[in-house]
């Protein structure tokens, strides 16, 4: 055995993957070969260092269990697109594309209730009790993986900026299917978007003042889609000067804490 082969076995020896006989052979070699001894020492100290575990921050288990309970307790009405993720994403695209003609009030009747019988159009009873004034967004939304801010191609503001000057294809990487027609694709491609951490929207989109649901006939200027493992939740945003009027998937309407300028900054991050 040459040194290279010996050293590979040294690595195995550290991993307790050698028999007693092989171990003896390797030990015999390294006591006579300073180079392999150095390799052995280096491997050992790296190995020891890797095994030197750091303490878990306090409250770790409680945090996990809190998130699990929140997940389990999540109201059913929020799971508008629960189900196979690919399918949900696909449906979401159809909804975006289709909303040029659907006023917000009617889209639940047109689309969502047909997808899942559990999720009929929101009623007053359904609407989550919101904490107005700096309460932040629902904690559950913060546990979603990402939030994507879509500037809809049919944004009312003709001077709305582009993101870094580019038009981003909002196709989310799922395989193209028959649910995405050429027209829908074109509509999607003319939207611009930016994916951010859900936390960055916590204060911007938090409810500040309650508002009447269905203030707008036209399609939202921005749609923020929170994506988790198997579910998607969205908040539609209309721009009123500096103010943001929001309608969420649970049927709440409110003016947000944040400003249009803050949303744009986020879009350009």
């Amino acid at each position: 055995m040459n040194c290279e082969e010996i050293q590979e076995r040294l690595s195995m020896m550290l991993d307790e993957e050698l028999s007693g006989d092989e171990r003896a052979l390797i030990m015999e070699h390294i006591t006579a070969c300073p180079e392999c001894m150095k390799v052995y020492e280096a491997f050992s100290s790296v190995s020891d260092s890797l095994k030197d575990l750091e303490e878990v921050p306090e409250g770790f288990t409680e945090d996990v269990m809190r998130r699990i309970r929140a997940k389990n307790a999540a109201p059913k009405r929020k799971r508008y697109f629960a189900g196979v993720l690919g399918m949900a994403a696909c449906l979401a695209l159809v909804l975006f594309a289709g909303r040029t003609v659907d006023p917000p009030q009617s889209r639940d009747m047109n689309g969502l209730s047909a997808i899942n019988a559990d999720t009929a159009a929101p009623t007053a009873e359904d609407a989550a009790p919101y904490t107005y004034g700096n309460g932040g967004l629902d904690a559950e939304l913060m546990s979603f993986d990402t939030a994507t801010v879509y500037q809809n191609s049919y944004i009312a503001d003709p001077d709305a900026p582009t993101v870094n000057g580019t038009i981003i294809d909002v196709d989310d990487g799922t395989p193209d299917t028959e649910c995405e027609t050429a027209t829908e694709k074109a509509a999607n491609r003319s939207s611009i978007s930016n994916t951010v951490a859900p936390e960055s929207l916590d204060t911007i989109l938090a409810a500040a003042v309650p508002a009447e649901y269905g203030n707008y006939e036209r399609t939202a200027d921005y749609t923020v889609v929170f994506s988790g493992e198997a579910e998607t939740y969205f908040i539609d945003v209309w721009v009123e000067g500096e103010r943001l009027y929001c309608q969420d998937a649970a049927g709440n309407a409110y003016y947000a804490e944040g400003t249009y300028a803050q949303l744009l900054t986020l879009m350009n991050e």
Binding site: E8, M12, D15, H29, A42, S49, E54, F60, M65, I68
Partner: protein
Amino acid sequence: MLTQDEERRIIDRVLSGDVNAFGLLVEDQSKVVYNLCLRMVGNEQDAYDLSQDAFLKAYTNLSVFRGDSRFSSWLYKLATNVCLDFLRKRSRQKTVPLTYETENGEQEYLPIPDETFSPETETERKELRDSVRRGLSQLPESQRQILILREIGQLSYEEIAGQLGLEAGTVKSRIFRARKKLCDILIKDGNLSESIPSNHQEKGGANV
């Protein structure tokens, strides 16, 4: 650490609706999972979030966990995969790297501030640990994941091979290559006291 039987019994309880029993698995594995993530991504904040995500994912997917491996080895693979996903996403977002370019065009590490006071031996230990952490971040992902599963997860070659769908021989050679590369990085970094001659492969040395 729980035995395989204990893990199984707890999983059955969770699956039959006793959500709180999952806390026993978290309690048992949090240290290893947190450290796996810490070595995968290199900083405490992300490691905390990602190890939380790993447990959440394990909980969500518990019903598809097949009992043909240890729960822990399945969980470790899941945790390292969560980290790999994160690292890939992060590299797409082009975050600021931990290195900067010096005037003569070399890559240097940004100094990591450390205000904690510690005795000398503790400092040395910490230096090596930080250096190992930085070295790990330079390993190819496939080598890093396997080395971490071995060293921190304490999985055998066979278990790693089973979890990642590889041959045991591949696991063995990747671990070896990862160790060598890591040692080279540490020597360059000045954090391994004894230097290994760079031409050691070519030399015959003592033959057995």
